[in-house]
């Protein structure tokens, strides 16, 4: 039995805006230290980060306001270091130390 080796944590910044901050303790900016590898030992990608956020950061019970059918809910934009995540490979983007990941909801009006 070999546990995946603990390769230490990496520091990233995760931000929520456009109304999403309400799901995350009303805080826009979260400085996080996350494991560099996921449970299978693979480098951490954005897909896994979303699951991680749901399980570890989001205190609000309404998970489906953030994740729907296993992915970020349609209508929520994801920017990786200011770039649309669609330009970065969406869920498959491998997170680097110091990355800034922004989730912004387009669903809230005013």
């Amino acid at each position: 039995m070999s546990e995946p080796k603990d390769v230490g944590d990496i520091g990233i910044t995760v931000e929520f805006s456009g109304g999403l901050e309400m799901l995350f303790s009303n805080e826009r900016k979260h400085k996080l230290s996350i494991p560099a590898k996921d449970s299978t030992g693979a480098p951490l990608n954005v897909g896994y980060l979303v699951t991680y956020l749901c399980e570890n950061v989001m205190k609000d019970a309404r998970k489906d306001l953030f994740v729907l059918d296993g992915t970020v809910r349609p209508g929520i934009l994801v920017l990786i270091n200011e770039a649309d995540w669609e330009l970065e490979g969406e869920e498959t983007y491998e997170i680097q130390p110091g990355d800034n990941i922004l989730f912004v909801s387009t669903l809230h009006g005013g």
């Binding site: 934009l77 920017l79 200011e82 649309d84 330009l87 387009t106 009006g109 005013g110």
Partner: protein
């Protein structure tokens, strides 16, 4: 993935993937293209004329904030010669508008535009909190929606402004197109797809003193996604919230359908908007299809239907659900051979189906006989349709009935208003609300605040 260069300048790193054509743009090029397209919408549709005074319906939300910012930029860049002011409506929902009105006040300073805030209390004599106290939380969105629809026009008329612009975007319009198609409401489809509409509104309490308020949607072809990205990349100051009285279901709503379509094929949103426009031209009696032979080239505005939400015309899950149920019932009927063949007598069937559909969709109360008459008229030549829209005998506002929806709702409210509520002013009532009640309300707010749009 290696970073891709911007498709326009070929130098900067692309940060934006445009939904309409998949082009990859850098931040400065995106901002420039976004503004240029709005300018193009404004000029090709001749939305404004020099010297015109324009009220921007401002809520502090992303759409109206972007609209104000872009209009200020374009007005200066292209010398439109417009006088721009901000007009905000305060529904009188404690704890809901406070922050957004603060945002609007900051916007007024940032964009150097005069700001007027008008309350439901001033316009109708009722705040939404008072309405909810009276009618309960169920169904109060009908009141809010009907009142909101008229509020901007009434407010503008008071200020002597004849043109109101709103932040309706392509996603809003696409959603309305889908809903009206599913309902089979072709006249409404025609009216809601129009970029400019006109609404008779009384200047004072005298219904005869009406003036026509022009309404337009300069962001009609702008994707919600790009509006949010524009606000983000320009660091605009906007506020996001949902109505505390309307915990909307996202799943199964027309909005969800639009967002899912966008994910599969991003161009779908504009395709739906364009299809809606094309279909509107085919609607008998529509102003769009009249080829300039009818009396006015500007269609009348849409009467507001029920529903609240932060953006007019936004739908909720239950709408779609009830429609689906009705559609499947219709299917059962036709499977049982009870329905005439659709191809041969299509118009008749559409009219019948339409009546049944509309009955199934929750709408604010109307007089039954008149409704059927009005909708039947949609399938007969244009003169009949034109008679449908008149003015409210009481307030002068656009209405298909003698008395408009707002006046009907107000009449009901005023009749059942308890004696003491009449005597108490709004201010007094507020200060007399017990502490405990306020706390309860706040808890309730938190629970529903993030109701999906």
């Amino acid at each position: 993935m290696p970073p891709s260069p911007c498709a326009l300048c070929k130098i900067n790193r692309a940060l934006i993937l445009r939904p309409k054509d998949h082009s990859k743009l850098c931040k400065p090029c995106f901002i420039s293209v976004f503004e240029t397209e709005i300018h193009h919408t404004i000029t090709t549709n001749a939305l404004f004329h020099r010297g015109e005074k324009i009220a921007i319906g401002a809520s502090g939300g992303k759409d109206s904030t972007v609209l104000a910012s872009v209009l200020k930029t374009l007005n200066e860049r292209y010398d439109y010669g417009l006088e721009l002011i901000l007009l905000s409506i305060d529904e009188g929902i404690r704890g809901y508008r406070d922050d957004s009105l603060e945002t609007v006040k900051r916007n007024a300073e940032q964009y150097e535009m005069p700001l007027t805030i008008l309350g439901y209390a001033e316009l109708y004599g009722w705040t939404m909190d008072q309405v909810v106290e009276q009618v309960g939380k169920k169904g109060n969105c009908t009141y809010c929606g009907v009142f909101r629809r008229q509020a901007l026009d009434r407010g503008a008329a008071r200020l002597g402004v004849k043109h109101v612009v709103t932040g309706h975007n392509a996603d809003d319009v696409a959603e309305t197109v889908l809903m009206n198609l599913l309902r089979g409401d072709l006249p409404r489809l025609s009216r809601t797809t129009s970029i400019i509409t006109s609404t008779p509104s009384a200047v004072s309490a005298d219904p005869d003193s009406h003036t026509n308020i022009k309404r337009s949607k300069p962001l009609k072809y702008a994707y919600e996604k790009e509006i949010v990205l524009y606000a983000h990349h320009k660091s605009l100051d906007y506020f996001s919230t949902e109505c505390i009285y309307s915990p909307e279901a996202f799943r199964g709503s027309a909005r969800a359908l639009i967002k899912n379509l966008e994910r599969v094929r991003p161009s779908a949103i504009l395709d739906v908007v364009r299809s809606g426009e094309d279909m509107a031209k085919l609607v008998p009696g529509s102003d769009e299809g009249c080829g300039g032979t009818c009396s006015t080239s500007i269609p009348l505005a849409e009467e507001e239907e029920g529903g609240c939400g932060s953006s007019a015309g936004r739908t909720v899950g239950s709408d779609m659900a009830s429609m689906e149920q009705q559609l499947s019932q219709n299917e059962n009927v036709s499977e049982a051979g009870l329905e005439v063949e659709i191809t041969s007598k299509r118009v008749d069937v559409m009219a019948q189906r339409h009546d049944r559909l509309t009955d199934a969709v929750p709408l604010p109360p109307r007089k039954k006989g008149q409704k059927v008459k009005g909708q039947g008229a949609a399938f007969t030549p244009k003169k009949a349709t034109k008679q449908v829209m008149g003015q409210c005998k009481r307030c002068g506002y656009l209405s298909s009935q003698d008395i408009c929806k707002a006046c009907v709702l107000l009449e009901g409210l005023n009749k059942s208003r308890p004696k003491n509520a009449i005597e108490l002013g709004y201010e007094e009532q507020e200060s007399e609300t017990p502490k405990a009640e306020t706390t309860n309300m706040t808890n309730g707010m938190n629970k529903v605040q993030l109701g999906p749009g």
